[in-house]
């Protein structure tokens, strides 16, 4: 499961050659799908180098003249870096708090049985049942009454809260499958639960920390509806909001909007290709387990 992206399924269909006909069929189908997937992205990046007029007349070609300053103007603007910074801070806090809160709670659910522990776990799992949007208005009122509107924490705390159910579930399932003997031995030697968490569970849990961290990071980095409702000044906007504002301002200057989109999704694309194995494994593992 963890290796789905890395290994080309060596076992599958092993020992058989694919016929030439089948290979032609497979590659031509895959190339068509690739085209549909990649062309909008490619044309977005190329469009950022064109002029408005050229977008109209030369939709699919390379730019006649590469207008680098469409890009460089954005790169030297403050708004670009500010929105990336905001997203980064919110994501960093969200991932950190999610990992800490959910790993600790999951440890208790995995190892400590007490009156009502099962009930409490089910209480958390309620969070899997409905989307964040259902409670968005009361959430807005609550954050406002707490004085957290337009602050990083006002976005981070609800994001953490809505990520807890999945995170606790993933951590707990992983913790429960760690070798029982390790804990028995430690407890016989008088090790407390808290020490066992710190010295036994955590050092063995790097894969699951990565999985939960990636799910939480991607969710927070891309999140739109919560910041949209809980932030109201543009200096606080993370990039999905910043991008919408930019598009609103330069509505018909599509070449600028395209350059802006390209630069803004660039970190995601680079990170995806750099850590593809972990990202794909994390996002699908989170779904399957």
């Amino acid at each position: 499961m963890t290796d789905i992206s890395a290994k080309p399924a060596a076992r599958h269909l092993s020992g058989r050659r694919l016929s030439l006909g089948h290979r032609i069929y497979a590659y031509s189908s895959l190339l068509i799908v690739t085209g549909i997937v990649i062309i909008p992205l490619l044309m977005t990046a190329l469009g950022g180098f064109k002029t408005v007029g050229e977008l109209r007349t030369n939709a699919f070609g390379l730019p006649y003249e590469w207008r680098w300053w469409n890009y460089t103007d954005i790169l030297i603007s403050q708004r670009y870096w500010l929105q990336m910074w905001n997203s980064a801070v919110i994501a960093f806090l969200t991932v950190g708090l999610t990992l800490v809160c959910s790993a600790m709670a999951a440890f208790v659910f995995a190892h400590v049985r007490f009156l009502g522990s099962r009930l409490l776990l089910n209480y958390f799992l309620l969070g899997l049942m409905f989307p964040a949007a259902t409670a968005i208005l009361p959430l807005f009122i609550r954050i406002r009454d707490l004085g957290l509107i337009d602050t990083y924490m006002g976005v981070v705390l609800p994001q953490v809260a809505f990520g807890l159910a999945v995170s606790i579930l993933l951590f707990r399932n992983y913790f429960r499958n760690l070798p029982r003997e390790l804990f028995d031995a430690a407890f016989v030697d008088g090790c407390s639960y808290i020490r066992a968490f710190w010295y036994i569970t955590l050092p063995l849990s790097r894969p699951i920390i990565a999985t939960v961290g990636i799910i939480s990071l991607v969710g927070s980095w891309n999140s739109y509806i919560l910041p949209l409702i809980l932030l109201n000044s543009e200096e606080m906007y993370p990039w999905p909001l910043g991008m919408m504002v930019y598009q609103g301002e330069f509505a018909t200057d599509w070449q600028l909007v395209l350059a802006f989109i390209t630069l803004t999704i660039l970190p995601t694309v680079v990170a995806f290709f750099a850590a593809q194995r972990h990202i794909i494994a994390g996002l699908t593992a989170g779904a399957v387990k």
Partner: protein
């Protein structure tokens, strides 16, 4: 536990009298209490304050006509719900949500299954194709939405360029009532099929190779193998993938806003964009909360009954 026996001995006399607990239980409690008290509350507090209480409050606010300032005072009973269910736009939004589920099940999942089947084989470059197909899933919905808003743009977009190449008049896909929803559905398939494909690739790799070889020896054709062996063995993955399509449809918001914002003429709302447009933008807290409660009931009912009916044995 060494420390536990020591502690037990010390508290024994008092314990017997106090709560009727055996010394063993007292010892256990002593070792468990710190970890419970330290480790559970952070998650419990955050979850209760920002998930459970707001949900409860949504139910409460939904009985009021309230703009969010001062305490809610104007009790109007079930009036908000009445308005919701009589509202044409709400019914369109609900229909759209089911349309999205239908397209996911009938177009997206077969596509994902087909591509996964091609890629699970010994094909050179399979890893590269997987990466490319998964890429849209990693991009934020907002970015994908804006990119496709450009693709569909009547003046500058790619679709109208193609139309013009074949001698047709360019159209503003997203501004036409009859095209807008289909255009959005295409983007949804584009964005999410890679995720489902990954689930199927994982499922395919888990199928025991001997079964396939047995089918080969028995002379099964490609189609027979797919429908008689692969598909039945992927049963639990298919059910899971449909489940995600259903849940995803009910949450769909980020993609719609940059594409159409629910327009033209409120034709492309989903339940969440409807809630946003008519509850949040107009600051109708009571009404929006009622929509939230309806969305909650639909989500829970669908998720729960789906699990009961289709995923009982998975």
């Amino acid at each position: 536990m060494a420390s536990q026996t020591g502690a037990t001995a010390a508290v024994r006399p008092a314990a017997r009298r106090a709560f009727g607990l055996t010394p063993r239980q007292i010892g256990e409690l002593k070792s468990k209490l710190p970890v419970i008290v330290l480790f559970v509350p952070p998650a419990l507090l955050v979850f209760t304050i920002f998930v459970i209480l707001p949900m409860g409050e949504a139910a409460w606010y939904s009985f009021y006509n309230w703009n969010g300032y001062g305490p809610p005072e104007q009790w109007i009973g079930l009036k908000n719900y009445e308005v919701v269910f009589r509202n044409k736009v709400f019914l369109t939004a609900l229909t759209n949500n089911f349309l999205i589920i239908a397209v996911s099940v009938l177009v997206q999942i077969p596509l994902a299954l087909w591509v996964a089947n091609l890629l699970a084989g010994r094909l050179r470059g399979a890893v590269f194709f997987r990466l490319i197909f998964f890429l849209p899933y990693v991009l934020a919905d907002v970015a994908a939405g804006l990119i496709w808003r450009f693709v569909y743009d009547g003046d500058f977009g790619l679709v109208s360029a193609i139309l013009q190449f074949f001698g047709f008049e360019p159209i503003y896909m997203l501004a036409e009532r009859q095209f807008a929803m289909s255009a959005i559905l295409a983007v949804i398939v584009w964005k999410y099929f890679g995720f489902h494909m990954m689930l199927y690739i994982a499922g395919l790799q888990a199928i025991d190779q001997e079964v396939m070889e047995a089918a080969d020896i028995d002379g099964a054709t490609g189609w027979q193998k797919f429908f008689r062996v692969t598909l039945p063995m992927l049963g639990s993955t298919v059910r899971l993938s449909v489940f995600f399509a259903v849940v995803g449809s009910l949450q769909l918001f980020d993609l719609i806003i940059p594409l159409t914002g629910g327009g033209p003429g409120n034709a492309t709302h989903t339940l969440v964009t409807y809630l946003y447009q008519f509850g949040v933008v107009r600051l109708q807290i009571g009404f929006g909360s009622a929509v939230g409660v309806v969305l909650f009931c639909i989500s829970v009912t669908l998720a729960f009954s789906y699990r009961q009916v289709f995923m009982r044995h998975d």
